[in-house]
Amino acid sequence: MAKAAGKAAARLATVDPYEVGPTGLFRLVDPDGREVAAVPPLPDGLAVRFLEAMLFQRALDQRMLNLQRQGRIGFYGTAKGQEGSTLGTGAAFEADDWVFPALREGAVALWRGMPLEAYVAQCFGNAKDPTHGRQMPCHYSDGPRHYVSLSSPIATQVTQAAGAARAVQVLGRKQVVAGYCGDGATSEGEFHAGLNFAGVWKAPVVFVCQNNQWAISVPVQKQTASETLAVKAVAYGMPGLRVDGNDVLACYVATKAAVDRARRGEGPTFVECLTYRLGGHSSSDDPTKYRDESEAKVWEARDPLLRHRAWLVGKGMWDDAREEAFLAAAGKRITDAIAAVEAAPPPATDTLFSDVYATLPPHLVDQKDRLARGEPV
């Protein structure tokens, strides 16, 4: 059996994502879990870790969304349907590389080692939140693992990623920077400026666009008249790759090629991952109001999690018992993390005033003191 699979794999051609180009679609495994191109050798255990991380994120997202529905956290945005492109691309960067995320890359923070309790606490915004409840949920920051704090304005991180990559060049280091964005972000001036600067500087940055085809309620066809998003890269003098975003292995292989290329000093790459947002934009959004659910059904059948599981099962690397055990343990981890942080009090009042500046300036001392003393302020 293993021998036969080996023979079948040997017949498959090796495909270079750079040769597929910006108007093709780089894919290794089809929606039924069958290999359509040779899967190159992967680091030990990576393929299984991908499925585990995808299953974990799906479970975590559902639990966090439930917390929002129960009024226990204020907001949440799931990555449902995009776990393949999130984790496949995120895993291609080294621990020392820098990640400038967009809204749906929380799974990348966890992949890089952000403690689950910190992730959950950020959503509660309480005293256990390392960022002191200063942003709405899903706006994680994890300095030790170079997962840079994100903001809500769209695409501002694209220019920042280009700048950080320029700084890597200035200091003569070997890191690569990840700059994430969504399909809507490609309409922003920041996107143009970021890719333009990175192209001119030949900076070691890989831009990853999760094209989930919906910017809240606006479909990608209304964002751009370009044939694909990847083709935009050509105008900035960098390669544009177009990848099946629901094929976690293809996302990894393509992004890894881009990361290696950047690390060799050959410049930036733009990676478009074609995927689909199965849920709403966030807990505040109801997609049934603007999109045909038959479209979502089509994409449910292309679920990245089902596809990767089918591939792993076919390889004899995964089975139902293992999944059951994993999900039970994952559920417990999530329950434990929520239990560990939910009861914490709000952040101390002092944290309203700290970190605005390196040290507290006189006008903030005055405002803080007046608040404490009950004086007019």
């Binding site: 960022t131 920051s141 501002t156 280009a162 320029r166 700084a167 200091l171 400026a193 600067f197």
Partner: protein, 325 residues
Amino acid sequence: MPEMTMLQAVNDALHVAMAKDDRVVLLGEDIGKKGGVFGATAGLWDKYGDLRVMDTPLSENGILGTAVGMGLYGLRPVPEIQFLDFIYPGFDQIVSEMAKFRYRSGGEYPCPCVVRSPSGGGIKGGHYHSQSAESYFIHTPGLRVVMPSTPRDAKGMLLASIFQDDPVIFLEPKALYRHGKQEVESGYFEVELGKARVVRAGDGVTVVTWGAMVPVCEAAAEKAAEKGVSVELLDLRSLLPWDADAVLASVRKTGRLVLVQEAPRTLGFASEIAATAAEKAIDSLRAPVARVSGFDTPFPYTLEHVYKPDAQRVLNAIEFVAKYD
């Protein structure tokens, strides 16, 4: 000590900063080979090359966004925005990003960055080369806003700005770039941020101003003295955080306050100073607070001299509050 114009002092500060620390990098439009449209970065590209003195694509958005990324990564970027009037495409990066990074990341990501930009009128540039836009930035928690009026302050405050960790909007009054020379220390020194400078001591009327209005107010104070009114003139220098203690101490002494700004009147920084005087020194005030300012109009081309406060307009205000009883 060498004598320098403000422009030479800014240039000297950049030379000193770049020699002192490899992490200091400059980026902007025309700042490389050309040395900047005013010449503030002259000689630096020749010394440090493309990696540290970057002629960027023509995009204020790109300049400021990439500067934020550099600051986060650990450099000390000093982006130049050719004229303050052109900064708005990058406004989001200033207001939403560099000003918020330290706070929103729980202190994990400070964002040192000194945005240099020539500000205000004085070159017959119409409204797109002349505006005083400081209020937009003073209204943004997390930023420092600095506007020196002398060569020595320009150098010492620029060095102090580059070698601290908060983002700074460093406004250079272009009318004063070649206004005159002053002795400035060689090498590295700092002028403390957040402290006002007493330009002229007096006990009759307090005049508070900054930037290009400082010499205008000096001329007005001179004329007032001839008429027997003693003016205490403060150059604020730092607009955020600002030296409220120095202003209030002077107001408590004189009881009379004139505020002079080149910027439009409504919600200009003078308004904040007036409100602070009303909150904290109302018992000392013996006359209404007077504001002298640009008008709530766009900055004009031909009538620039009417728009901008001059010594006579400032003198009128000084005399009004001095005589008020």
